[in-house]
Chain length 155, copies 2
């Protein structure tokens, strides 16, 4: 189960190119469950994300996420079956003072100018006690308009 | 990891309809990894099968298989992106004297007349010591021409 929080970006950190970064292209074949193919540099990945309701009625829903390596050929084949438009972004990995890592996404193409930053937490406690750095903007964790799958279909 | 053996069928057991059975339709979007959508009665499933090489060089390759529930709508959407032809079959679950269950597939459509039977084992020992019932035919576990994904592309 992934515990993540997502924010807009007020001010991009300086000297961005000093941080490790990778070009990402991702496309969607289905959104329920999410069937996504992603190219990160020269690595190709198929990801399936499924909402799983566990236990008794009313219990929290969590997400199951499984990844599979693709060859470049399989990636291109599955990409050709995708819907919406490809989401293009550069992802920077920026270490935070708290010891966690921020993933800053600068979008290109249809969403040029959009900037989102995400932090993944090891547990609920660290997620709830997280104090965002000053360069983070408004939190949009629950705003579906900032989901990448939404962006793919609203380019 | 699945441990299975697959056989042709010399003689179909009598009174087949007394055994529980289900109509199966399955289609393939990709074969490396295998991306399969399957309808079993009114249940729709997305399955990804990946060959995983574990540990040091020369160690056995095993298969990773993950399943995800689909809605009927997602099934139809993904099916429309499939390649080759749909594989159609009726699957009968037949209890064996050894306590295991044989899955007998009678194919329809492009492969009408083909009959395959498969047994899944809890461990390697029971797989290796398995004595097939007399109605089982030649073993085809390692014959890729009897893989369902091969059948989909050779209808």
């Amino acid at each position: 189960m992934e515990i993540e929080r997502k924010y807009l970006v007020d001010k991009v950190p300086e000297s961005l190119d000093d941080y490790s970064h990778v070009e990402i292209e991702q496309c969607y074949l289905c959104t329920s469950p999410t069937v996504r193919v992603r190219r990160m540099g020269d690595v190709y990945i198929l990801t399936i994300k499924e909402k799983v309701a566990k236990g008794k009625e009313g219990e929290a829903i969590h997400n199951r996420e499984e990844e599979f390596l693709l060859t470049a050929e399989s990636y291109e084949r599955l990409k050709s079956k995708s819907e919406g438009s490809a989401v293009l972004k550069t992802r920077y990995r920026i270490p935070l003072e708290c010891g966690l890592t921020a993933e800053l996404d600068l979008f290109h193409g249809a969403h040029e100018g959009l900037r989102l930053v995400e932090v993944e937490f090891p547990d609920t406690e660290s997620s709830e006690s997280f104090i965002p750095p000053v360069w983070f903007g408004k939190e949009v964790s629950d705003d579906r308009r900032y989901r990448n799958s939404w962006l793919a279909f609203n380019g």
